[in-house]
Symmetry: C2
Subunit: 317 residues, 2 copies
């Protein structure tokens, strides 16, 4: 049995191979090729923590993956990361445990960054140059790195976070080859952006509808549970086109949940990224259109990134 820790896993992930695998996961999901049982969940109210168990199997794959992820917001005060977890890779042919990937969330962080960049590249105007990233955590940094890697090193990033200090630290953590600067005026940064990427855990909308100019694309990756919302409902309502990694999840607990619950959007309008990848004509139809992609994270991507790690490891032995 293979057992890898966080550092070993991160060293094994080639960003381009991971991007191919995450794109394929989008496609497989939208084609219905992924067996995805309901996500397991257990809460620990005494410590405001919880644990999610995401698992699934892509038709034909020789393995399947069970991802266990915990979130304990009180850890930060103890100087520990809030998120923890591991993925268990098992044979879909014999049920044996093939690998324990004790990644402490790094696989999720990377696949989420790549998933956001794939959505932006697919849906933003081809001339997009100015990207405003909202958030100051690990995921804001991953989004910047993935966008630079998958789209262009010439992109100009602005980053805004609620905490000025944390945001400054995030800027420092980004490789120097990337053009990123911290801003304090979120409205201005949104009004002057070609693309807005939101990666916060906000429970009240940060982005107002009148800040969003025609032609803007928004990739929202923060809302992954009921009660989280990064975009004012009007942003979603007035957008010309809506996209999601998995429409059912976005409507259940993603950015589209609240506008849908208030009957403000036609849920049939939501197009899945995997369908756009298969048929790019489903994407942005005019450079003046505002487009919103909501990404809640799909188990197929967890399977994909685990596959990348395993293949890379097997090539070393």
């Amino acid at each position: 049995m293979i057992s890898l820790n966080r550092d070993e896993i991160e060293a094994l992930i080639d960003h381009d191979l991971a991007a191919e695998a995450v794109a394929e996961a989008y496609r497989a999901t939208s084609l219905g090729k992924v067996n995805l049982p309901p996500v397991g969940h257990i809460a620990f109210p005494d410590h405001a923590g919880d644990c999610h168990i995401k698992y699934g199997h892509v038709a034909g794959d020789p393995f399947f993956v069970i991802k266990i992820a915990t979130g304990f917001p009180g850890n930060e005060a103890l100087g520990q990361p809030n998120g923890n977890g591991l993925s268990v890779v098992m044979s879909a042919e014999t049920g044996e445990v093939r690998a324990l990937l004790h990644d402490e969330m790094v696989m999720t962080d990377i696949r989420t960054g790549i998933g956001g960049a794939i959505a932006t590249k697919l849906l933003a105007r081809k001339s997009s140059l100015k990207i405003t990233v909202v958030g100051s955590g690990v995921q804001a940094r991953r989004q910047i790195e993935s966008h630079a890697s998958l789209m262009s090193e010439d992109l100009i990033f602005k980053i805004w976070g609620r905490s000025v200090d944390k945001t400054a630290a995030a800027v420092k953590a980004v490789p120097e080859t990337i053009n990123v600067s911290q801003v304090t005026d979120l409205e201005d940064a949104c009004r002057n952006a070609d693309v807005i990427v939101t990666a916060t855990g906000s429970t009240s909308p940060l982005i107002q509808s009148d800040w969003v100019q025609p032609g803007t694309h928004i990739t929202a990756v923060g809302a992954d549970a009921l009660g989280k919302q990064e975009l004012e409902s009007e942003v979603v309502v007035s957008a010309d086109a809506l996209f999601a990694d998995l429409a059912s999840q976005s409507l259940d607990h993603g950015e589209f949940a609240i506008p849908a619950a208030n009957h403000l959007i036609d849920t049939n309008r939501i197009v899945e990224i995997g369908d756009v990848l298969a048929n790019p004509g489903c994407g942005k139809s005019s450079d003046d259109h505002v487009t919103v992609a909501d990404l809640t994270g799909i188990a197929a991507q967890d399977i994909a990134i685990a596959g990348v790690v395993l293949n890379a490891f097997m090539a070393t032995v």
Copy 2:
């Protein structure tokens, strides 16, 4: 992070401590102290295999456990065990991974054996001496060992299995201090037993009602999924008292599921083992009564046995 393999785990389990922990798990479950989300499940029809994810948290415990167990019946033809799996022990205070117990089912095997012996000891006539065990697999052997250990080394075991060769091998695997002999006449062995323990994966009833004499206690541990049935429905219907580790599971996918679905039993009659442990007066009320205990396996026992392993390991470091 602690990481233990099957042999290390088996060496760390003290049978008496495990028996205490499993009994406490029965009690905690019946007292409603265990948070038990629905069991996760994913099937692999191409290989007739499946995977169950059982997880839960006992109120107040500093850790929780996620048990992943697979069953691929085709493995046997490849000379591999059908069952595989591991348990992940995580902090209920920070969400960190505390331990990976790659037990390949040995913890489940041991806790199931102990769980059966606790039920028999609690519910059988005190004078019980002759135990007929039905089945020839690992669990039949575990039941014999646990009954001898928890009840008396003087017990006289008969074992019957569908395969004469496999049954002979099971007899050989039992320690020589235990009085066990193989039989080929199941009816005779049941008619002459004080206790019948069934531990098969049978999908059609093996034990007929007219073989069961007054005063007999039956512990049935085999039926753990819909479609499995070891006892003719009439055995259950005509029993004087019915017991279960978790009544809702026994009615859903255990030995009581088929008689209940056919409205042959009053489901309110089922008493949980944990309630009998807390109040022995709920047990067998006459030495002439036939009693049936159906054990489908509860996550609290998986948590309990993981705790025993962890505590023993911590005492060594």
